[in-house]
């Protein structure tokens, strides 16, 4: 029931926020009346920023306790609702861990930018948790994940090949977001976050449409944004590779009934794989060797290609856009519009600044291209690596620690006293 209410809440937002986009044009006053200038709201009180950090740390702690100690799906669902209410609707999706990546990137590349402590904590805390205990942040703290989890109705399985192909996007989006932030061109991860318009009851038609599409798809495909777009998720996925504690379906013996795999809406449960035969291993080793040798080539080619994107990418930067318009108006190709006249800027420094930004984009283009090459090469290597697995296990990178599998595992149900021991299935059965 709670899930339904949240789904409906999402639809309400979809319906109502669409109206907020349209701006009513002011009338042409002939009487000389001047429309009052907009005023700037007061800055948010400092203690509220500490409250945000405290809420995040507390939510992470509770999430860890719910995943590893209590192992309660209901508890996680309840915490998701709280996170959605506070970090989503009350805080309107900002500050959030996903966007904080850009704050950190900007602070690293721009010495004039002071990184807010809140953004740093939101960036680091979920990462540190992931390094030690998996994606407890995604489980019940992230509002973007929570809203998708709550609209999930009838999950269908995404084919593995499609999952892997679409899984490239978050890493590439992460690279692009970092580069645009580092060059001071804007926080594209926030700008194109499809859930934020719902949290804010406002947004462009495009983003509302994209958000609605994600939620509609999310009714049948578990957490599509988290799996196929979230750039912070790409970071967390990498961090979980080194995590000490991992989510386990049951601390007891796995009966290999496959119910956990069936219950996972995110395709995160990996089935047991026996050791490969030596003859088939030979070809696999050869492929792996070739791919490992090709990794530097991928990176190099990517870097070279990325450098060619500098001009196109720099067009996103407002200073470069302004300079382009200045130069176009100089050559007569475009009439100098009112906003340029109102900018009242000397065009020469603007053009000089634009060239400087473009130079930074050239460097960032190399880095982005190299990163894209690394992601692609690493993916090929990962897909050519075999791992022996004796039980059903959650993939730590893909598992959102939602605890759904706990409830379906017969061993876990017996351990918790929810099922009589005599009904325990065996491997033979």
């Amino acid at each position: 029931m709670r899930r339904f209410l949240n789904i409906l809440l999402g639809f309400l937002l979809l319906g109502s926020t669409a109206l907020a986009e349209q701006r009513f044009p002011p009338p042409d006053f002939e009487s000389g009346y001047k429309i009052p200038a907009p005023t700037t709201p007061f800055a948010r009180a400092e203690f509220l920023q500490y409250l945000d950090m405290a809420a995040l740390l507390a939510a992470l702690g509770v999430s860890l306790w719910l995943v590893y100690r209590s192992r309660s799906r209901r508890g996680i669902a309840a915490l998701s609702l709280c996170s959605l209410a506070y970090f989503g609707f009350y805080r309107k999706g900002c500050v959030c861990a996903i966007g904080s990546v850009q704050n950190v990137a900007l602070a690293m590349f721009d010495s004039h930018y002071a990184l807010p402590l809140t953004a740093l904590v939101f960036f680091l805390a979920p990462l540190v948790v992931a390094l030690f205990a998996g994606r407890a942040f995604c489980a019940a703290v992230c509002p973007q994940g929570a809203i998708q989890d709550l609209v999930l109705l009838k999950p269908i399985k995404v084919p593995a090949w499609l999952e892997h192909a679409l899984g490239l996007i978050p890493s590439l989006f992460l690279g692009a977001g970092v580069i645009f932030a580092a060059t001071g061109s804007g926080f594209i991860i926030c700008r194109y976050d499809p859930m934020v318009p719902f949290f804010r009851f406002n947004g462009s038609s495009l983003m509302l449409g994209v958000g609605a599409a994600f939620l509609l798809v999310g009714m049948f495909v578990g957490r599509p944004y988290c799996r196929f777009l979230c750039p912070y998720g790409a970071l967390l996925r990498m961090a979980t590779a080194a995590s000490q504690w991992r989510v386990r379906v049951t601390p007891d013996t796995c009966t290999q009934c496959a119910l956990c795999q069936h219950s996972c809406p995110f395709g995160a449960l990996r089935e047991p794989v026996p050791a490969a035969k030596s003859e088939s291993l030979r070809g696999a080793r050869k492929r792996l060797t070739v791919l490992l040798l090709l990794l530097p080539v991928w990176i190099g080619l990517g870097a070279l290609g990325g450098s060619k994107l500098a001009t196109a990418a720099s067009m996103v930067n407002p200073t470069v856009k302004l300079a382009e318009r200045y130069v176009r108006s100089l050559s007569g190709g475009e009439k100098e519009p009112l906003e340029i006249q109102r900018a009242e800027k000397n065009p020469e420094p603007v053009v000089a600044s634009a060239l400087d930004i473009r130079k930074r984009f050239e460097l960032c283009g190399w880095l982005f291209g190299g990163w894209a090459g690394l992601v692609l090469g690493a993916k090929f290597i990962a897909l050519s690596t075999r791992r022996k697995r004796s039980d059903f296990e959650p993939d730590p990178g893909a598992c959102y620690a939602c605890a759904r599998c706990f409830e379906t595992c017969p061993s876990e149900r017996i351990r918790r006293g929810l099922m009589p021991v005599e009904l325990e299935p065996t491997n033979k059965e």
Binding site: F4, I7, L8, L9, F11, L12, G15, S16, A18, L19, Q22, F24, P25, P27, L153, P159, A160, W161, L162, H164, A165, L168, C257, Q261, H262, E271, P272, V273, A276, G305, K308, L309, T311, A312, S314, V320, A323, E324, V327, S329, L330, S331, G332, G333, E334, K335, E336, P337, L338, P347, E348, V351, A352, A354, L355, D356, K379, F380, L383, S384
Partner: protein, 590 residues
Amino acid sequence: MNPELANAGQENLPRAAYRAWLAAAWIAAVFCLALSATLLYQRATATTNDPWKSPQLRELKARLAQAPKDTQIKTQIRALDLEYRQRFFRRLRMDRTGGWLLLGGVTVFLLAAQQAAGLRKTQAAPQPSPDAAAEALRQAGHARWAVGVGGAVVCGCLAFVALNTQTCLPASAADIPQLFGKTSGGAASAAGELFPLAEFQANWPRFRGPDGSGCSPKGTAPLAWDEQAKTGVVWKSAIPLPGFNSPIVWGNRVFISGGDAEKRAVFCYDTADGKLVWERPIENVAGSPAKAPEIMEQTGYAASTMATDGRRVYVIFANGDLAALGFDGAVVWSKHLGVPKNQYGHATSLAVWQGKLIVQLDQGEGEPGNSRLTVFDGSTGKVVWEKARKVPGSWASPIVVEAAGKTQIITAGVPWLAAYAFADGAELWKAEVLDGEVTPSPILAGGLICGASPSNKLTAFRPDGSGDVTKTHLAWTSEENIPDVTSPATNGELIFYITSSGMLTCLDAKDGKKLWEHDFEVEMQASPGIAGNRVYVVSTTGQAWVFEAAREYKELGKGALDDKFFASPAFAAGRLYLRGNASLYCIGEK
């Protein structure tokens, strides 16, 4: 109770419940879809009620621009505007209500659908794959392919974006001074040029002479010529491309332009023998559309007369291409101003003053941001200033006058006869007197600025006012035989103008009183010209009359040429230059 009946009842209960939930889900789904469609339709149709986009409101505003004092139109606009705003807020309320209804509908749908699905839910009994190792290998192989294809698609998209992005910015910071028309030392190159005022006044550097009045005060020109009798025609040269622009003369060079949909070019002739010295096509102008816009044949692509400051010649065509050429024919700079939105085609001529090129580009229907007056640096093409004008398309040409201690650019465009400061484009004064399709250019006559509403009235204003001078600086108004196409000519004392039907009128520039009129009873499209004390008028069929610039009509001579004439005469060095449809004529003594 019969146990069998009791079991049957228990089995029927979930079935009935399932049907009930399913029916509820369907009803809710249909309700949601219908409501969504209604909301979407309402949102789509709402744009027609947007006051910015309403054709009805636009039309009313356009009418108001034509008649700004019409209170009835103002009332209509206010009423319509209010109605649209009320509709807007009514729609907002409806949308909000619709949104809540949609929420309710979706709630019922989801609740019912989940209950129905729960009643049909079967317990899963999955089994581990018998050949998990082979399956894993197969899946990994498919995934590698998918990742490869996905990666290739992403790379392809990025490559497409990279290859299709063009930048106007210079390659390096070292090119910035050049971009802004500065030398490496930082000084504007044009600043070093001196404006040759005496030469400027001695030549015929723009449409209708140095000051646009159609007069060469110290000039002379022949009294009679006849092409068939081979008298008076110094030379005659063929014009390669059509155009209605008038010749301009500087030193020993005559310049005209011509063009059609395929080609636009500038032609330079030697005044001595009429030999075509050079011909320069104006092509590959950055931003200019590959296909020229369709222009009415009666206007053509080269209706605007060129201008020169003695160092460069400037040309504009109806497709919006503007260019500066050296006297050797080399293109100094060129730029595309955008295709002018002009129903008949752009015909306003260029003006020059002190090394600056003045371009009046009035276009559209008076929408904000369309029409503008731009001053370019003649040597670099850099925009010195630009002023937006709230006027629709016009065909009159600007003039530059020294009046009231200021250098003023006088423009005509419905409804304003307006003056701008040459220095910075500040609007000095304006008078709301023009209507119709303004084609006659303004003139400075006896210290007064005269502007004509075609076939309606000629109005004169003192140019020493500021702001709206419609009522405060009006000197006189004449409604005698006002021309529809041609511009008046003046020697400062008298004003001469002629209608398309050939009715010539002479006014006293001081008070606008009609002194005399004379009907030539022949079609005239060329404006009159004055050289010294002689006034020249040329008919479309090549007949010309010379009469005295005096307070009564006195014919001095006649001319006849075998061509069609629409362009206005030019005077320089004792000669008269006339552009026919096929040939350029030089009239004078050999």
